[in-house]
């Protein structure tokens, strides 16, 4: 069953405010071999923002999603927000949206993102033993070659698990941009990471251009 008989030929499409969430041929992403990603560049002035009222405080977000239409089952990302404040503060004229079709999961943001997300501060918050860092002392990500890095120093044992989330600002706002390694949402559950080895330093990598999180456990000598 298709909504209003809308059909799309196989391809990778962007649905956003300019096309009223209904993509057409001109909204297709193209493959960039040097990056190994699909991408599309749009004009920031083409975006319209929804007013999201988070218990009295208003945030202006413009949502988009990526449709990967293919014969063996479509994969469609969850809705991903672009924050107006970041676009305006950096005088952004064009925004590039990326998709890694190998990483994309149906209904999740994983594998899809954009370049505005590198221009804001993100924080790694969680409860890995000791004082939880949900409210205070969350680790601020630092950029290294387009990837955001946060380090957690602690004696971990293989099999330890902990819960975490990635905060879009020190005070969690806008809640609608809180990332749990799967979706951007104000009320998703915490992400869980299980340690693979004994280590005293865990490095969290976050690539916001494709909303992808991975961990590196440093070897203990």
């Amino acid at each position: 069953m298709n909504l209003l008989g809308i059909t799309l030929d196989p391809g990778i499409y962007l649905g956003y405010s300019k096309n009223n969430n209904v993509p057409d041929i001109e909204d297709q992403l193209t493959y960039d071999e040097s990056l190994g990603l699909y991408k599309i560049t749009i004009n920031a002035s083409d975006l319209t923002y929804s007013e999201i009222d988070e218990e009295g405080t208003k945030y202006y977000l413009s949502y988009y999603k990526i449709f990967h239409v293919k014969d063996d089952g479509n994969v469609v990302s969850s809705s991903i927000p672009i924050w107006k404040d970041i676009v305006e503060a950096n005088n952004i004229e064009t925004i590039t949206i990326y998709a890694d079709t190998k990483k994309m999961k149906d209904g999740k943001a994983v594998g899809v993102g954009d370049d505005t997300k590198l221009l804001q501060d993100w924080y790694f918050a969680g409860d890995w033993g000791g004082k939880p860092t949900w409210e205070e002392d969350a680790v601020k990500f630092q950029e290294e070659d387009g990837i955001l890095i946060a380090k957690v120093q602690k004696d971990f044992n293989a099999g330890d698990t902990f819960e975490y989330k990635i905060k879009p600002s020190d005070n969690w706002r806008p809640w609608s941009m809180i990332f749990n390694a799967e979706i951007y949402s104000r009320d998703s559950s915490n992400a869980v990471y299980t340690l693979k080895s004994d280590t005293d330093e865990l490095t969290v990598h976050f690539d916001p251009k494709i909303s992808f999180v991975w961990f590196v456990e440093s070897e203990v000598n």
């Binding site: 209904v22 009295g56 999603k65 479509n74 033993g129 099999g159």
Partner: protein
């Protein structure tokens, strides 16, 4: 060291025994265990019991309390995650908090907000001084900050109500910044037709080394008047916030606006003008709601700075009607239409600016009852499905003697994507409690796709 520990444990056991032995207690214990089916095969079985919560509540003569035991996500041990105990002594209530969000005030603006203060450990003293008013005093630890709050409500005098509040926090010399907030609110209820009310608050951050007490532009003014004449009632107020007012502990909803609410019999009209006061006032938008019985009209013109900058594309409008029915099967329905902006060409619905058609109904038949919903729009929801699509929802529930069953389904059809989720629970009532088994996650706004989890919740009353 060991002797000390033993002494401490004996002391705890002794006080708990004394405590529970001396008073006649009532209360409840709730236990929840949740199992999530893993996506990855190598994850360990035990860690998928991702939730194990025990809620313990009791009340007795002169005291009440509650605490939660949760499985710690890090080392899987059960520990007390939060607690609250209140002891009543004549005119004084003493409350102790452990990891609780419980600091708030009840002035007009509710200027100290428990979400903003966050979790605290400490005590509160509440005392009802009868002819001398009421007093709330908090002395708590907030993330290493020593946090004090005093809120004193004076005795009512000639229908005039007033209260004063004072807040201060402080950490140490390494973080010599502290916050101070002083407030005063009043409500003059002498004349039914004209009741003035308002609040003045100063709030600022200071550095203890400077201690300059510079309070320029650190204030807020809130004031208005309300009243009633026959069937007509009104309420008018304005909020002005100076540039450097420190909002750290105040509700996020605190914004500048002019508000007017009038009602006559079944007709109510509210207007809220959202703006920023300044040399050039920035007019953001007006929100007007008209209620007549079961009918509601919402109109919100968007002004980008001034009334002459009216922006039709950002303006919103909706009409809503709901009605109780006395026909078989359907017992109630609601219909709502929403549109943002205006279309130049109404022919292709795929290219409309945001719109939504919302239908909802309650039904009852053969002992079953429930609710159903249909939404068609772009976006379907501002919160959970920011895209073009249709949403179908139905729930059903029924009680059989001691059993209760409930199930619900949701299906969203987007342009090419489909999202389906379901939840079901069966409950059984015991003489002193109940037990409930469930499948899935019942919070459909949180998870649009079915969650592979099962769980059990038991509650016992004593």
């Amino acid at each position: 060291m060991k002797a000390k520990k033993l002494l401490l444990i004996s002391l705890i056991v002794f006080s708990v025994t004394l405590f529970f032995g001396s008073v006649d207690l009532g209360g409840s214990v709730e236990f929840n265990l949740n199992f999530e089916f893993p996506e990855e095969e190598d994850s360990n079985f035990y860690s998928n019991f991702n939730k194990a919560d025990l809620y313990f509540k009791f009340f007795g003569d002169g005291l009440r309390g509650e605490f939660n035991l949760n499985k710690d996500s890090y080392d899987n041990k059960l520990r007390v995650s939060s607690s609250e105990f209140t002891f009543n002594l004549n005119n004084v209530d003493l409350t102790t908090y452990w990891n609780r969000k419980s600091v708030s005030t009840d002035d007009w603006l509710k200027i100290v907000n428990n979400e903003k203060v966050g979790e605290i450990n400490g005590i509160k003293v509440y005392s009802d001084l009868d002819k001398f008013g009421k007093l709330n005093f908090y002395a708590v630890d907030k993330n290493g900050y020593f946090f004090n709050l005093l809120h004193y409500r004076l005795p009512e005098f000639a229908k005039i109500n007033t209260s004063i509040l004072y807040l201060k926090d402080y950490k140490n010399m390494r973080t010599p910044k502290y916050n101070e907030l002083m407030g005063f609110d009043f409500d003059i209820g002498i004349f039914e037709a004209i009741k003035p009310y308002g609040e003045v608050v100063f709030s600022y951050q200071q550095d203890i080394r400077e201690a300059s007490y510079n309070i320029d532009n650190n204030y807020l003014l809130f004031g208005g008047v309300r009243g009633k004449v026959g069937d007509f009632s009104y309420n008018f107020n304005t909020t002005y916030i100076a540039d450097k007012f420190y909002k750290g502990y105040s509700p996020d909803s605190l914004e500048e606006n002019i508000f007017l609410d009038t009602s006559y019999k079944n007709v109510r009209l509210t207007n809220k003008l959202e703006l920023n006061f300044g040399e050039d006032n920035y007019i953001d938008r007006l929100r007007t709601n008209l209620y007549i019985n079961n009918f509601e009209l919402y109109v919100s013109p968007d002004f980008e700075g001034s009334f002459s900058d009216f922006n039709l594309d950002g303006s919103e409008m909706s009409v809503t009607y709901s009605h109780n029915l006395s026909i078989p099967f359907f017992t109630w329905y609601k219909i709502s239409l929403y549109k943002q902006g205006w279309e130049d060409d109404w022919t292709d619905i795929k290219h409309y600016k945001p719109f939504r058609i919302y239908l909802e109904g309650n039904y009852k038949a053969l002992g079953f009852s429930g609710n159903m919903k249909y939404i068609f729009g772009n976006p379907v929801s501002d919160e959970f499905f920011q895209a073009f699509g249709e949403l179908y929802y139905i729930d059903v529930s029924r009680n059989f003697n001691k059993f209760s069953v409930m199930g619900k389904l949701q299906y969203i059809q987007g342009i090419v994507e489909k999202r389906f989720t379901a939840y079901a629970e069966v409950g059984y009532n015991l003489p002193n409690g109940n037990i409930k088994f469930y499948v899935g996650d019942g919070d459909f706004e949180k998870t649009l796709q079915f969650e592979r989890q099962i769980g059990v919740t038991t509650t016992f009353y004593f």
